[in-house]
């Protein structure tokens, strides 16, 4: 698939075509910037464009190619990062007005450096929920990020800009983070692939934190191969992140024979509507799963994640919640203050339950390699929707879009989110959940679904030319 400017959409396809001499990096980056200039006003995925930097990096890459240098694997691939990643030369906002006067980052975050080191070209920073506390990217400071497949609907969050930028065809890969579902929820609502690796797999160095016990780094792409190449490029044992595991590189592309797959029922069916359950059944069937199993005490795992998040997040922001309450995001500031007040006994209990549940879920993985569950209870809600109806239960949208992702990330398990079709035409993803440090199993399951055309990343939308900004040139 190619863009209207005849550049490929996929990351690896771009790298191959660039290495083949089909176009210059400057031509590609100018076309990428022109598409964003023309259409992002409709999506609002970007909060900053690193135009000058991108063109400098493109020219440097073109010079390397002209010298006959060996090109790195992601040479020429445009990418962008959620605006909690440090990007040299611009302020790291983390979606918040209170950081608006922060000095520009002096250097890139570790994972940004990993991608640029592989030849990828930084295009800009992406919209998100304030301080990553939300599932809808309805950011009152930057404006809501809109779903490219239906601009009246949410892109999901908190990495909404990261998923939307890929779904819109602006860039082929992006970086995001996932504390409770912030990669998997927007991947589901925008219909792109996403990876949330094992807790501790990828370095958090140079990112604005949210919940140290639960923060995971992740990525988005339009295909499993692109996502795997990105994930592999990001891996390294970073001594600057105390939670980063000191493990050797373990490729996403390990070869496998049969996969033992089960579908998660119980909690994961009860909190999923027809679209979500159908997606889970379709994925399980395509992967040859015949059994439905129960995740151990999913409601306790979800509750533990909620308590730990509220307490750590609330404590992190106490000072500016006191001093600058009026400038904080109205959708999350009161929840953060409530979290800061939680009794210590509740939070310690949550951490103990988390450790106990870890033992029980590992027992489940003695029988199965991959567990399948929906990533969200429903397809994208409309922006501004307060409530959703799930099997007759009326639930608040904003704290509950992640109720199927929270029990999984609470235990630090690696997940690939794979987008599926629904009857409504809007996408929804399944979670392909693997044991700790076995991202390769989740990638293998995703690849099988993609090969069978069960998993499907919808093509980028055709944007409404009538909504072009004056002077924009697509």
């Amino acid at each position: 698939m190619t863009t209207s400017n005849h550049f490929p959409y996929g990351a690896l396809a771009i790298a191959r075509a660039y290495a083949n001499g089909d176009f210059s990096a400057r031509e590609l980056i100018e076309a990428t910037l022109a598409r964003i200039d023309a259409y992002d006003a409709q999506v609002n995925a970007f909060t900053a464009i690193t135009r000058e930097r991108a063109l400098v990096e493109a020219d440097a890459l073109d010079a390397r190619r002209a010298r006959g240098d060996t090109l790195p694997p992601l040479a020429g691939v445009p990418f962008a990062a959620k605006n909690l990643f440090d990007i040299e030369g611009i302020a790291t906002l983390a979606g918040s007005r209170v950081l608006g006067n922060a000095p520009a980052a002096a250097c890139d975050a570790a994972l940004v450096t990993r991608l640029t080191g592989q030849g990828a070209i930084m295009i800009g920073a992406l919209n998100m929920d304030e301080f990553a506390y939300g599932f809808t990217t309805e950011n009152h400071h930057a404006g809501p990020c809109r779903n490219p497949h239906d601009l009246t609907r949410s892109a999901g969050g908190s990495s909404g800009g990261s998923a939307a930028a890929v779904a819109a065809g602006f860039v082929p890969i992006t970086l995001g983070t996932d504390t409770n579902g912030s990669v998997r929820v927007p991947a589901s609502l925008c219909g792109v692939f996403g990876v949330k690796p094992t807790y501790g797999r990828l370095s958090r160095h140079g990112t604005y934190p949210f919940v140290a016990s639960l923060d995971h780094m992740g990525a988005f792409a339009r295909s499993v191969d692109d996502l795997a190449a990105t994930y592999d490029a990001l891996q390294f044992a970073d001594p600057l992140d105390p939670a980063c595991a000191q493990r050797a590189f373990e490729s996403a592309n390990a070869k496998h024979g049969g996969l033992r797959v089960a579908r998660l029922g119980g909690y994961f069916d009860e909190h999923a509507n027809d679209d979500a359950r159908h997606a889970s059944h379709a994925a399980a069937e395509a992967l040859g799963a015949s059994e439905t199993v129960e995740y151990p005490d999913a409601d306790a795992a979800r509750g533990a994640a909620f308590l730990i998040t509220a307490a750590e997040g609330g404590q992190l922001h106490m000072a500016n919640l006191r001093a600058r309450y009026d400038e904080r995001e109205p959708l999350s500031r009161d929840r953060l203050i409530a979290g800061a007040l939680l009794p210590a006994a509740w939070v310690v209990q949550a951490q103990r339950v988390r450790a106990a549940l870890r033992t029980r879920v590992l027992e489940l993985f003695e029988r199965y390699d991959v567990l399948v569950a929906p990533a969200t209870p429903m397809v994208a809600p409309r922006i501004g929707d307060e409530f959703m109806d799930i099997n007759g239960e009326r639930l608040a949208v904003r704290p509950n879009l992640g109720l199927l992702t929270q029990p999984v990330s609470c235990l630090g398990l690696p997940v690939v989110a794979a987008p599926m079709r629904t009857r409504s035409g809007l996408p929804i993803a399944v979670q392909l959940i693997a044991p700790p440090w076995r991202e390769d199993l989740a990638f293998e399951a995703a690849r099988r679904l993609e090969t069978a055309q069960v998993a499907h990343c919808p093509p980028p939308p055709v944007f409404d030319e009538a909504l072009l900004l004056p002077g924009a040139n697509a």
């Binding site: 016990s213 203050i337 409530a338 209990q349 106990a356 870890r358």
Partner: protein, 59 residues
């Protein structure tokens, strides 16, 4: 339960956020009640004395 939560939140706000407006305090109370509902299965979960917390989680 709700009266004890009200009393707890008011006391905790007086300690940590003494300048918060009454309107904001009411919203914080509502949020606390929601979190308390989600805490119920966690607090009911039996842990043994040797089930240690996982402050730095290493799967």
């Amino acid at each position: 339960m709700s009266s004890s939560i009200d009393a707890y939140v008011e006391a905790a706000l007086a300690l940590h956020f003494p300048a918060l407006s009454d309107e904001a305090a009411a919203r914080v109370k509502a949020q606390f009640v929601r979190i308390a509902q989600l805490a119920a299965p966690v607090l009911a979960y039996h842990v043994d004395a040797d089930d240690e917390p996982a402050p730095v989680y290493r799967p």
